[in-house]
Symmetry: C2
Protein backbone atom coordinates (compact mmCIF):
# COMPACT_ATOMS: atom_id res chain seq x y z
CA UNK A 1 0.00 0.00 0.00
CA UNK A 2 1.13 3.54 -0.65
CA UNK A 3 -0.07 7.08 -0.11
CA UNK A 4 0.66 9.43 -3.00
CA UNK A 5 1.06 13.00 -1.78
CA UNK A 6 1.02 15.94 -4.14
CA UNK A 7 2.42 18.75 -2.04
CA UNK A 8 5.28 21.12 -1.42
CA UNK A 9 8.77 20.80 0.01
CA UNK A 10 9.86 24.21 1.12
CA UNK A 11 11.86 26.56 3.25
CA UNK A 12 9.90 28.29 5.99
CA UNK A 13 10.83 31.23 8.15
CA UNK A 14 8.68 31.03 11.24
CA UNK A 15 8.16 33.30 14.19
CA UNK A 16 6.15 32.17 17.22
CA UNK A 17 6.12 33.37 20.85
CA UNK A 18 8.82 30.71 21.37
CA UNK A 19 11.32 32.09 18.88
CA UNK A 20 12.22 32.72 15.29
CA UNK A 21 13.68 30.18 12.88
CA UNK A 22 15.07 31.21 9.51
CA UNK A 23 14.70 29.01 6.45
CA UNK A 24 13.95 25.73 8.17
CA UNK A 25 12.50 22.79 6.24
CA UNK A 26 8.74 22.83 5.75
CA UNK A 27 6.08 22.21 3.12
CA UNK A 28 2.82 20.29 3.07
CA UNK A 29 4.35 17.29 1.31
CA UNK A 30 7.17 17.08 3.82
CA UNK A 31 4.94 17.12 6.89
CA UNK A 32 2.31 14.83 5.41
CA UNK A 33 4.76 12.23 4.16
CA UNK A 34 6.64 12.11 7.46
CA UNK A 35 3.44 11.68 9.46
CA UNK A 36 2.15 8.98 7.10
CA UNK A 37 5.48 7.16 7.12
CA UNK A 38 4.60 5.63 10.51
CA UNK A 39 1.80 3.69 8.84
CA UNK A 40 2.52 3.22 5.16
CA UNK A 41 4.86 4.12 2.35
CA UNK A 42 4.58 7.78 1.37
CA UNK A 43 5.29 8.87 -2.20
CA UNK A 44 5.85 12.56 -2.82
CA UNK A 45 5.11 14.44 -6.04
CA UNK A 46 6.67 17.89 -5.92
CA UNK A 47 9.56 20.07 -6.95
CA UNK A 48 12.51 21.65 -5.17
CA UNK A 49 15.26 23.99 -6.27
CA UNK A 50 18.96 23.22 -6.26
CA UNK A 51 19.17 24.89 -2.85
CA UNK A 52 17.20 22.10 -1.14
CA UNK A 53 19.49 20.29 1.32
CA UNK A 54 20.73 16.78 0.60
CA UNK A 55 20.43 15.94 4.31
CA UNK A 56 16.67 16.45 4.13
CA UNK A 57 16.40 14.26 1.05
CA UNK A 58 18.38 11.60 2.88
CA UNK A 59 16.24 12.01 6.01
CA UNK A 60 13.06 11.46 3.99
CA UNK A 61 14.57 8.47 2.24
CA UNK A 62 15.56 7.11 5.64
CA UNK A 63 11.85 7.14 6.50
CA UNK A 64 11.26 4.94 3.40
CA UNK A 65 9.57 7.82 1.61
CA UNK A 66 9.56 7.33 -2.16
CA UNK A 67 10.92 10.43 -3.92
CA UNK A 68 10.66 9.28 -7.55
CA UNK A 69 8.01 11.98 -8.04
CA UNK A 70 10.25 14.74 -6.69
CA UNK A 71 11.88 16.93 -9.33
CA UNK A 72 14.96 19.02 -8.70
CA UNK A 73 15.02 22.11 -10.91
CA UNK A 74 17.42 24.97 -11.38
CA UNK A 75 16.41 27.84 -9.13
CA UNK A 76 15.20 28.30 -5.59
CA UNK A 77 12.78 26.16 -3.57
CA UNK A 78 9.38 27.37 -2.45
CA UNK A 79 9.69 29.84 0.43
CA UNK A 80 7.11 30.89 3.02
CA UNK A 81 7.36 33.19 5.99
CA UNK A 82 4.68 33.17 8.65
CA UNK A 83 4.21 34.62 12.11
CA UNK A 84 2.02 33.35 14.94
CA UNK A 85 0.92 35.38 17.93
CA UNK A 86 -0.41 34.08 21.22
CA UNK A 87 -3.30 32.33 19.51
CA UNK A 88 -1.70 29.41 17.64
CA UNK A 89 -4.80 29.11 15.45
CA UNK A 90 -4.13 32.47 13.82
CA UNK A 91 -1.23 33.04 11.53
CA UNK A 92 -0.07 35.89 9.37
CA UNK A 93 1.67 35.17 6.11
CA UNK A 94 4.53 37.62 5.71
CA UNK A 95 5.86 36.37 2.40
CA UNK A 96 5.26 33.60 -0.15
CA UNK A 97 7.79 32.96 -2.92
CA UNK A 98 6.66 30.08 -5.16
CA UNK A 99 10.03 30.06 -7.03
CA UNK A 100 10.37 26.65 -8.77
CA UNK A 101 6.66 25.99 -8.08
CA UNK A 102 5.72 28.93 -10.31
CA UNK A 103 5.31 26.85 -13.46
CA UNK A 104 5.43 23.34 -12.04
CA UNK A 105 2.82 20.96 -13.46
CA UNK A 106 2.82 17.83 -11.28
CA UNK A 107 3.15 14.54 -13.17
CA UNK A 108 2.68 11.18 -11.49
CA UNK A 109 5.45 8.67 -12.23
CA UNK A 110 3.93 5.61 -13.99
CA UNK A 111 3.84 3.35 -10.93
CA UNK A 112 2.17 6.08 -8.79
CA UNK A 113 -0.76 6.18 -11.23
CA UNK A 114 -2.01 2.81 -10.00
CA UNK A 115 -1.88 3.76 -6.31
CA UNK A 116 -5.22 3.91 -4.59
CA UNK A 117 -4.77 6.54 -1.88
CA UNK A 118 -3.98 10.07 -2.98
CA UNK A 119 -3.65 13.31 -1.08
CA UNK A 120 -3.91 16.59 -2.95
CA UNK A 121 -2.33 19.11 -0.58
CA UNK A 122 -3.18 22.79 -0.81
CA UNK A 123 -1.92 23.48 -4.33
CA UNK A 124 -3.76 25.36 -7.11
CA UNK A 125 -7.13 23.62 -7.67
CA UNK A 126 -6.55 23.52 -11.43
CA UNK A 127 -3.43 21.48 -10.74
CA UNK A 128 -5.40 19.28 -8.34
CA UNK A 129 -7.94 18.67 -11.10
CA UNK A 130 -5.23 17.84 -13.60
CA UNK A 131 -3.70 15.31 -11.19
CA UNK A 132 -7.04 13.53 -10.87
CA UNK A 133 -6.96 12.66 -14.57
CA UNK A 134 -3.70 10.81 -13.97
CA UNK A 135 -4.97 8.56 -11.17
CA UNK A 136 -6.16 5.30 -12.68
CA UNK A 137 -7.79 3.32 -9.88
CA UNK A 138 -8.41 5.55 -6.92
CA UNK A 139 -10.08 4.26 -3.78
CA UNK A 140 -9.63 7.35 -1.64
CA UNK A 141 -8.80 10.80 -2.95
CA UNK A 142 -8.41 13.44 -0.26
CA UNK A 143 -7.87 17.15 -0.71
CA UNK A 144 -6.89 20.18 1.30
CA UNK A 145 -6.94 23.83 0.31
CA UNK A 146 -6.19 27.31 1.66
CA UNK A 147 -8.07 30.61 1.81
CA UNK A 148 -6.06 31.92 -1.16
CA UNK A 149 -7.71 29.40 -3.53
CA UNK A 150 -11.14 29.77 -1.96
CA UNK A 151 -10.91 33.48 -2.63
CA UNK A 152 -9.20 33.38 -6.03
CA UNK A 153 -10.31 30.11 -7.65
CA UNK A 154 -13.56 29.20 -6.02
CA UNK A 155 -15.16 27.65 -9.11
CA UNK A 156 -12.16 25.45 -9.87
CA UNK A 157 -12.06 24.40 -6.25
CA UNK A 158 -15.72 23.43 -6.16
CA UNK A 159 -15.17 21.37 -9.31
CA UNK A 160 -12.38 19.39 -7.61
CA UNK A 161 -14.48 19.03 -4.47
CA UNK A 162 -17.11 17.15 -6.48
CA UNK A 163 -14.54 14.55 -7.46
CA UNK A 164 -12.85 13.79 -4.14
CA UNK A 165 -13.84 11.42 -1.36
CA UNK A 166 -12.53 13.38 1.58
CA UNK A 167 -12.05 17.07 2.24
CA UNK A 168 -9.74 18.33 4.98
CA UNK A 169 -10.29 21.92 6.04
CA UNK A 170 -10.01 24.10 9.07
CA UNK A 171 -13.05 25.83 10.53
CA UNK A 172 -12.23 29.17 8.93
CA UNK A 173 -11.88 27.62 5.46
CA UNK A 174 -15.14 25.69 5.75
CA UNK A 175 -17.01 28.84 6.71
CA UNK A 176 -15.39 30.85 3.94
CA UNK A 177 -16.06 28.21 1.30
CA UNK A 178 -19.71 27.62 2.15
CA UNK A 179 -20.71 30.93 3.72
CA UNK A 180 -22.25 29.24 6.75
CA UNK A 181 -21.10 29.90 10.34
CA UNK A 182 -22.47 26.73 11.93
CA UNK A 183 -19.83 24.05 11.34
CA UNK A 184 -22.24 21.12 11.32
CA UNK A 185 -24.44 22.78 8.72
CA UNK A 186 -21.39 23.90 6.74
CA UNK A 187 -19.96 20.38 6.83
CA UNK A 188 -23.24 18.88 5.62
CA UNK A 189 -23.36 21.35 2.76
CA UNK A 190 -19.91 20.20 1.70
CA UNK A 191 -21.03 16.56 1.84
CA UNK A 192 -23.90 17.53 -0.47
CA UNK A 193 -21.32 18.66 -3.00
CA UNK A 194 -19.66 15.27 -3.35
CA UNK A 195 -17.18 14.12 -0.71
CA UNK A 196 -18.13 11.16 1.48
CA UNK A 197 -16.30 12.65 4.44
CA UNK A 198 -15.40 16.11 5.66
CA UNK A 199 -12.77 16.60 8.33
CA UNK A 200 -12.96 20.01 10.00
CA UNK A 201 -9.83 20.83 11.97
CA UNK A 202 -10.29 23.26 14.85
CA UNK A 203 -6.77 23.60 16.32
CA UNK A 204 -6.90 23.53 20.11
CA UNK A 205 -10.57 22.52 19.92
CA UNK A 206 -9.85 19.27 18.08
CA UNK A 207 -11.68 18.19 14.96
CA UNK A 208 -15.05 17.12 13.64
CA UNK A 209 -15.50 14.34 11.11
CA UNK A 210 -18.77 14.30 9.20
CA UNK A 211 -19.94 11.39 7.09
CA UNK A 212 -23.26 10.84 5.38
CA UNK A 213 -24.76 9.34 8.54
CA UNK A 214 -22.52 10.23 11.45
CA UNK A 215 -20.60 12.96 13.23
CA UNK A 216 -17.43 12.20 15.18
CA UNK A 217 -15.89 14.69 17.59
CA UNK A 218 -12.18 14.43 18.38
CA UNK A 219 -10.92 16.69 21.13
CA UNK A 220 -7.38 17.99 20.75
CA UNK A 221 -4.59 16.63 22.89
CA UNK A 222 -4.34 19.02 25.85
CA UNK A 223 -1.10 20.73 24.80
CA UNK A 224 0.28 23.27 27.24
CA UNK A 225 2.79 24.71 24.81
CA UNK A 226 2.42 25.01 21.10
CA UNK A 227 5.98 25.74 20.03
CA UNK A 228 5.20 25.95 16.29
CA UNK A 229 1.78 25.20 14.79
CA UNK A 230 3.16 24.95 11.24
CA UNK A 231 2.43 21.62 9.61
CA UNK A 232 -0.21 20.51 12.11
CA UNK A 233 -2.88 20.23 9.40
CA UNK A 234 -0.63 18.34 6.98
CA UNK A 235 0.55 16.01 9.74
CA UNK A 236 -3.09 15.40 10.65
CA UNK A 237 -3.80 14.45 7.03
CA UNK A 238 -0.69 12.26 6.92
CA UNK A 239 -1.58 10.34 10.07
CA UNK A 240 -5.21 10.02 8.98
CA UNK A 241 -4.55 8.84 5.42
CA UNK A 242 -1.49 6.77 6.31
CA UNK A 243 -3.55 4.81 8.82
CA UNK A 244 -6.44 4.20 6.40
CA UNK A 245 -4.04 3.13 3.68
CA UNK A 246 -2.34 0.70 6.06
CA UNK A 247 -5.69 -0.76 7.10
CA UNK A 248 -6.78 -0.91 3.44
CA UNK A 249 -10.13 0.44 4.62
CA UNK A 250 -11.66 3.57 3.17
CA UNK A 251 -15.29 3.70 4.11
CA UNK A 252 -15.66 1.91 7.41
CA UNK A 253 -16.88 4.40 10.01
CA UNK A 254 -14.88 2.82 12.84
CA UNK A 255 -11.64 3.02 10.87
CA UNK A 256 -12.40 6.61 9.83
CA UNK A 257 -12.82 7.49 13.51
CA UNK A 258 -9.53 5.85 14.47
CA UNK A 259 -7.84 7.53 11.52
CA UNK A 260 -9.00 10.91 12.80
CA UNK A 261 -7.54 10.18 16.22
CA UNK A 262 -4.20 9.17 14.67
CA UNK A 263 -4.33 12.38 12.66
CA UNK A 264 -4.91 14.37 15.80
CA UNK A 265 -2.10 12.50 17.57
CA UNK A 266 0.41 13.23 14.79
CA UNK A 267 -0.61 16.90 14.75
CA UNK A 268 -0.20 17.08 18.51
CA UNK A 269 3.41 15.88 18.24
CA UNK A 270 4.54 18.07 15.37
CA UNK A 271 3.61 21.29 17.19
CA UNK A 272 5.90 20.38 20.09
CA UNK A 273 8.94 21.65 18.21
CA UNK A 274 9.83 23.93 15.31
CA UNK A 275 9.38 22.67 11.76
CA UNK A 276 9.83 18.95 11.27
CA UNK A 277 12.19 18.60 14.24
CA UNK A 278 9.84 16.41 16.25
CA UNK A 279 10.06 13.74 13.55
CA UNK A 280 13.74 13.28 14.41
CA UNK A 281 12.85 11.45 17.59
CA UNK A 282 9.17 10.47 17.30
CA UNK A 283 8.51 6.75 17.72
CA UNK A 284 5.54 4.53 16.98
CA UNK A 285 5.40 3.73 20.69
CA UNK A 286 4.90 7.42 21.54
CA UNK A 287 2.16 7.61 18.90
CA UNK A 288 0.41 4.56 20.30
CA UNK A 289 0.69 5.83 23.89
CA UNK A 290 -0.87 9.14 22.96
CA UNK A 291 -3.61 7.36 21.01
CA UNK A 292 -4.41 5.55 24.27
CA UNK A 293 -4.35 8.87 26.15
CA UNK A 294 -6.98 10.20 23.73
CA UNK A 295 -9.26 7.38 24.80
CA UNK A 296 -8.80 8.35 28.43
CA UNK A 297 -9.31 12.01 27.58
CA UNK A 298 -12.82 11.40 26.22
CA UNK A 299 -14.01 8.33 28.10
CA UNK A 300 -16.97 8.57 30.48
Amino acid sequence: MSLVIIGSLAFDTIETPFGRKERIIGGSGTYCSLAASFFTQSKIVGVVGEDFPDETIEFLKGKKIDLKGLEVRPGKSFFWEGHYGEDPNKRTTIKTEPNVYEDFRPQLPPDYKKDETVFLANIDPDQQDEILTQVLQPRLIAMDTINLWINQKRDSLLKVLEKVDLYFANDEEVRLLIGEKNLIKAGKKILDRGPSFVVIKKGEHGALVLGKDFVFGVPAHPCEEVIDPTGAGDSFAGGFLGYLDKMNSFDDQSEIRRAAVYGSVLASFVIEDFGINRFNTLTMKEIQDRFDQFRKLVSF
Copy 2:
Protein backbone atom coordinates in the same frame (compact mmCIF):
# COMPACT_ATOMS: atom_id res chain seq x y z
CA MET B 1 -30.30 15.46 48.57
CA SER B 2 -30.64 19.06 47.45
CA LEU B 3 -28.80 21.59 45.39
CA VAL B 4 -28.88 25.12 46.80
CA ILE B 5 -28.61 27.71 44.04
CA ILE B 6 -27.88 31.34 44.76
CA GLY B 7 -28.79 33.06 41.53
CA SER B 8 -31.14 35.38 39.73
CA LEU B 9 -34.69 35.13 38.46
CA ALA B 10 -35.13 37.78 35.84
CA PHE B 11 -36.72 39.21 32.76
CA ASP B 12 -34.60 39.04 29.62
CA THR B 13 -35.02 40.75 26.29
CA ILE B 14 -33.12 38.71 23.78
CA GLU B 15 -32.30 39.18 20.14
CA THR B 16 -30.71 36.40 18.09
CA PRO B 17 -30.64 35.73 14.32
CA PHE B 18 -33.84 33.74 14.97
CA GLY B 19 -35.87 36.59 16.39
CA ARG B 20 -36.44 38.97 19.25
CA LYS B 21 -38.25 38.20 22.47
CA GLU B 22 -39.25 40.95 24.90
CA ARG B 23 -39.18 40.40 28.66
CA ILE B 24 -39.19 36.63 28.70
CA ILE B 25 -38.25 34.71 31.84
CA GLY B 26 -34.55 34.22 32.43
CA GLY B 27 -31.95 34.37 35.18
CA SER B 28 -29.12 32.08 36.28
CA GLY B 29 -31.14 30.62 39.15
CA THR B 30 -34.07 29.84 36.89
CA TYR B 31 -32.02 27.99 34.28
CA CYS B 32 -29.82 26.17 36.78
CA SER B 33 -32.70 25.01 38.98
CA LEU B 34 -34.73 23.75 36.03
CA ALA B 35 -31.78 21.80 34.62
CA ALA B 36 -30.95 20.32 38.03
CA SER B 37 -34.57 19.40 38.69
CA PHE B 38 -34.20 16.33 36.46
CA PHE B 39 -31.76 14.88 38.97
CA THR B 40 -32.36 16.34 42.41
CA GLN B 41 -34.32 18.90 44.35
CA SER B 42 -33.25 22.45 43.54
CA LYS B 43 -33.55 25.20 46.12
CA ILE B 44 -33.33 28.78 44.93
CA VAL B 45 -32.06 31.74 46.93
CA GLY B 46 -32.90 34.96 45.16
CA VAL B 47 -35.24 37.92 44.90
CA VAL B 48 -37.89 39.03 42.45
CA GLY B 49 -40.07 42.12 42.20
CA GLU B 50 -43.84 42.19 42.37
CA ASP B 51 -43.90 42.08 38.56
CA PHE B 52 -42.61 38.49 38.46
CA PRO B 53 -45.34 36.25 37.03
CA ASP B 54 -47.20 33.80 39.23
CA GLU B 55 -47.28 31.29 36.37
CA THR B 56 -43.48 31.07 36.46
CA ILE B 57 -43.49 30.55 40.22
CA GLU B 58 -46.06 27.80 39.74
CA PHE B 59 -44.05 26.28 36.88
CA LEU B 60 -40.95 26.09 39.08
CA LYS B 61 -42.95 24.63 41.95
CA GLY B 62 -44.36 22.07 39.52
CA LYS B 63 -40.76 20.95 38.94
CA LYS B 64 -40.46 20.39 42.71
CA ILE B 65 -38.13 23.37 43.05
CA ASP B 66 -38.04 24.71 46.60
CA LEU B 67 -38.67 28.46 46.64
CA LYS B 68 -38.46 29.11 50.38
CA GLY B 69 -35.31 31.13 49.71
CA LEU B 70 -37.01 33.35 47.12
CA GLU B 71 -38.02 36.78 48.36
CA VAL B 72 -40.65 38.89 46.67
CA ARG B 73 -39.97 42.60 47.20
CA PRO B 74 -41.72 45.77 46.15
CA GLY B 75 -40.26 47.00 42.88
CA LYS B 76 -39.17 45.51 39.59
CA SER B 77 -37.35 42.23 38.93
CA PHE B 78 -33.84 42.06 37.53
CA PHE B 79 -33.80 42.91 33.82
CA TRP B 80 -31.18 42.11 31.18
CA GLU B 81 -31.13 42.75 27.46
CA GLY B 82 -28.63 40.97 25.25
CA HIS B 83 -28.06 40.49 21.55
CA TYR B 84 -26.32 37.64 19.77
CA GLY B 85 -24.97 37.76 16.22
CA GLU B 86 -24.11 34.85 13.98
CA ASP B 87 -21.56 33.53 16.45
CA PRO B 88 -23.61 32.21 19.38
CA ASN B 89 -20.52 32.36 21.61
CA LYS B 90 -20.43 36.17 21.45
CA ARG B 91 -23.04 38.30 23.07
CA THR B 92 -23.48 42.00 23.60
CA THR B 93 -25.15 43.25 26.73
CA ILE B 94 -27.45 46.14 25.79
CA LYS B 95 -28.83 46.86 29.23
CA THR B 96 -28.68 45.54 32.80
CA GLU B 97 -31.12 46.79 35.42
CA PRO B 98 -30.48 45.13 38.81
CA ASN B 99 -33.69 46.64 40.31
CA VAL B 100 -34.61 44.58 43.42
CA TYR B 101 -31.14 42.93 43.29
CA GLU B 102 -29.53 46.32 43.94
CA ASP B 103 -29.41 45.92 47.70
CA PHE B 104 -30.30 42.25 48.06
CA ARG B 105 -28.14 40.35 50.56
CA PRO B 106 -28.87 36.65 50.10
CA GLN B 107 -29.77 34.76 53.28
CA LEU B 108 -30.06 30.98 53.39
CA PRO B 109 -33.23 29.72 55.07
CA PRO B 110 -32.29 27.61 58.13
CA ASP B 111 -32.82 24.22 56.49
CA TYR B 112 -30.72 25.22 53.43
CA LYS B 113 -27.71 25.85 55.65
CA LYS B 114 -27.24 22.14 56.19
CA ASP B 115 -27.37 21.26 52.50
CA GLU B 116 -24.15 19.92 51.07
CA THR B 117 -24.20 21.01 47.43
CA VAL B 118 -24.21 24.72 46.73
CA PHE B 119 -23.97 26.70 43.51
CA LEU B 120 -22.97 30.34 43.65
CA ALA B 121 -24.13 31.72 40.31
CA ASN B 122 -22.56 34.83 38.83
CA ILE B 123 -23.46 37.31 41.57
CA ASP B 124 -21.15 39.87 43.23
CA PRO B 125 -18.17 37.96 44.69
CA ASP B 126 -18.57 39.74 48.04
CA GLN B 127 -22.06 38.28 48.23
CA GLN B 128 -20.70 34.88 47.23
CA ASP B 129 -18.20 35.12 50.07
CA GLU B 130 -20.89 36.12 52.54
CA ILE B 131 -23.01 33.12 51.52
CA LEU B 132 -20.12 30.78 52.23
CA THR B 133 -20.18 31.79 55.91
CA GLN B 134 -23.77 30.54 56.07
CA VAL B 135 -23.12 27.06 54.71
CA LEU B 136 -22.55 24.70 57.62
CA GLN B 137 -21.49 21.35 56.16
CA PRO B 138 -20.58 21.78 52.53
CA ARG B 139 -19.38 18.87 50.45
CA LEU B 140 -19.29 20.62 47.08
CA ILE B 141 -19.35 24.36 46.59
CA ALA B 142 -19.34 25.47 42.98
CA MET B 143 -19.11 28.97 41.61
CA ASP B 144 -19.55 30.86 38.37
CA THR B 145 -18.73 34.45 37.55
CA ILE B 146 -18.84 36.96 34.69
CA ASN B 147 -16.35 39.35 33.12
CA LEU B 148 -17.90 42.26 35.02
CA TRP B 149 -16.67 40.87 38.37
CA ILE B 150 -13.32 39.76 36.98
CA ASN B 151 -12.75 43.34 35.85
CA GLN B 152 -14.28 45.17 38.80
CA LYS B 153 -13.77 42.89 41.82
CA ARG B 154 -10.85 40.71 40.96
CA ASP B 155 -9.44 40.48 44.49
CA SER B 156 -12.78 39.55 46.04
CA LEU B 157 -13.27 36.97 43.33
CA LEU B 158 -9.87 35.36 43.88
CA LYS B 159 -10.68 35.16 47.60
CA VAL B 160 -13.89 33.23 46.87
CA LEU B 161 -12.06 31.02 44.39
CA GLU B 162 -9.77 29.81 47.18
CA LYS B 163 -12.77 28.55 49.12
CA VAL B 164 -14.72 26.69 46.46
CA ASP B 165 -14.38 23.14 45.15
CA LEU B 166 -15.41 23.73 41.59
CA TYR B 167 -15.17 26.69 39.27
CA PHE B 168 -17.32 26.97 36.15
CA ALA B 169 -16.12 29.46 33.55
CA ASN B 170 -16.11 29.97 29.85
CA ASP B 171 -12.87 30.16 27.89
CA GLU B 172 -12.90 33.95 27.72
CA GLU B 173 -13.39 34.31 31.48
CA VAL B 174 -10.60 31.86 32.29
CA ARG B 175 -8.19 33.74 30.06
CA LEU B 176 -9.22 37.10 31.49
CA LEU B 177 -8.97 35.92 35.09
CA ILE B 178 -5.56 34.27 34.79
CA GLY B 179 -4.01 36.20 31.91
CA GLU B 180 -3.00 33.03 30.08
CA LYS B 181 -4.16 32.16 26.56
CA ASN B 182 -3.54 28.41 26.71
CA LEU B 183 -6.63 26.90 28.36
CA ILE B 184 -4.86 23.89 29.85
CA LYS B 185 -2.24 26.10 31.48
CA ALA B 186 -4.89 28.60 32.56
CA GLY B 187 -7.01 25.82 34.05
CA LYS B 188 -4.04 24.43 35.99
CA LYS B 189 -3.28 27.88 37.37
CA ILE B 190 -6.84 28.06 38.67
CA LEU B 191 -6.48 24.64 40.30
CA ASP B 192 -3.37 25.99 42.02
CA ARG B 193 -5.55 28.66 43.62
CA GLY B 194 -7.82 26.24 45.41
CA PRO B 195 -10.59 24.50 43.48
CA SER B 196 -10.37 20.73 42.99
CA PHE B 197 -12.03 20.99 39.58
CA VAL B 198 -12.27 23.59 36.85
CA VAL B 199 -14.87 23.30 34.14
CA ILE B 200 -14.09 25.42 31.08
CA LYS B 201 -17.10 25.83 28.80
CA LYS B 202 -16.30 26.49 25.14
CA GLY B 203 -19.73 26.80 23.53
CA GLU B 204 -19.84 24.95 20.21
CA HIS B 205 -16.44 23.43 21.04
CA GLY B 206 -17.69 21.63 24.15
CA ALA B 207 -15.97 21.80 27.49
CA LEU B 208 -12.81 20.82 29.33
CA VAL B 209 -12.80 19.52 32.87
CA LEU B 210 -9.51 19.71 34.74
CA GLY B 211 -8.84 17.94 38.02
CA LYS B 212 -5.60 17.60 39.95
CA ASP B 213 -4.63 14.53 37.95
CA PHE B 214 -6.80 14.39 34.85
CA VAL B 215 -8.20 16.29 31.90
CA PHE B 216 -11.54 15.37 30.38
CA GLY B 217 -12.66 16.71 27.02
CA VAL B 218 -16.40 16.86 26.26
CA PRO B 219 -17.30 17.78 22.71
CA ALA B 220 -20.49 19.78 22.26
CA HIS B 221 -23.61 18.17 20.86
CA PRO B 222 -23.53 18.92 17.12
CA CYS B 223 -26.30 21.53 17.08
CA GLU B 224 -27.25 22.85 13.68
CA GLU B 225 -29.30 25.72 15.02
CA VAL B 226 -28.70 27.66 18.18
CA ILE B 227 -31.98 29.51 18.61
CA ASP B 228 -30.99 31.27 21.84
CA PRO B 229 -27.71 30.64 23.69
CA THR B 230 -28.93 32.36 26.87
CA GLY B 231 -28.80 30.10 29.92
CA ALA B 232 -26.58 27.45 28.35
CA GLY B 233 -23.88 27.93 31.00
CA ASP B 234 -26.33 27.88 33.91
CA SER B 235 -28.09 24.83 32.50
CA PHE B 236 -24.70 23.15 32.15
CA ALA B 237 -24.02 23.87 35.84
CA GLY B 238 -27.49 22.65 36.80
CA GLY B 239 -27.16 19.35 34.95
CA PHE B 240 -23.63 18.86 36.25
CA LEU B 241 -24.33 19.63 39.91
CA GLY B 242 -27.78 18.05 39.94
CA TYR B 243 -26.29 14.78 38.74
CA LEU B 244 -23.45 14.81 41.31
CA ASP B 245 -25.89 15.64 44.09
CA LYS B 246 -28.16 12.78 43.03
CA MET B 247 -25.24 10.35 42.97
CA ASN B 248 -24.01 11.70 46.31
CA SER B 249 -20.52 11.64 44.81
CA PHE B 250 -18.32 14.70 44.73
CA ASP B 251 -14.79 13.65 44.00
CA ASP B 252 -14.97 10.49 41.94
CA GLN B 253 -13.41 11.17 38.55
CA SER B 254 -15.83 8.90 36.69
CA GLU B 255 -18.84 10.66 38.17
CA ILE B 256 -17.33 14.07 37.47
CA ARG B 257 -16.93 13.03 33.82
CA ARG B 258 -20.52 11.83 33.56
CA ALA B 259 -21.69 15.00 35.32
CA ALA B 260 -19.94 17.09 32.65
CA VAL B 261 -21.69 15.15 29.91
CA TYR B 262 -25.07 15.67 31.58
CA GLY B 263 -24.22 19.36 31.87
CA SER B 264 -23.40 19.49 28.19
CA VAL B 265 -26.62 17.61 27.36
CA LEU B 266 -28.78 20.04 29.34
CA ALA B 267 -27.04 23.02 27.73
CA SER B 268 -27.61 21.50 24.29
CA PHE B 269 -31.36 21.33 24.90
CA VAL B 270 -31.89 24.77 26.37
CA ILE B 271 -30.42 26.52 23.31
CA GLU B 272 -32.98 24.84 21.05
CA ASP B 273 -35.62 27.43 21.97
CA PHE B 274 -35.88 30.92 23.44
CA GLY B 275 -35.52 31.41 27.17
CA ILE B 276 -36.66 28.50 29.31
CA ASN B 277 -39.21 27.31 26.74
CA ARG B 278 -37.45 24.01 26.10
CA PHE B 279 -38.07 23.01 29.73
CA ASN B 280 -41.80 22.95 29.00
CA THR B 281 -41.45 19.71 27.09
CA LEU B 282 -38.03 18.26 27.97
CA THR B 283 -38.15 14.73 29.37
CA MET B 284 -35.65 12.55 31.21
CA LYS B 285 -35.88 10.11 28.32
CA GLU B 286 -34.69 12.79 25.87
CA ILE B 287 -31.83 13.64 28.24
CA GLN B 288 -30.80 10.00 28.52
CA ASP B 289 -31.01 9.48 24.74
CA ARG B 290 -28.78 12.45 24.10
CA PHE B 291 -26.35 11.27 26.79
CA ASP B 292 -26.09 8.04 24.80
CA GLN B 293 -25.59 10.03 21.59
CA PHE B 294 -22.62 11.77 23.23
CA ARG B 295 -21.02 8.38 23.72
CA LYS B 296 -21.44 7.61 20.03
CA LEU B 297 -20.17 11.06 19.11
CA VAL B 298 -16.80 10.46 20.77
CA SER B 299 -16.33 6.69 20.60
CA PHE B 300 -13.53 5.19 18.53
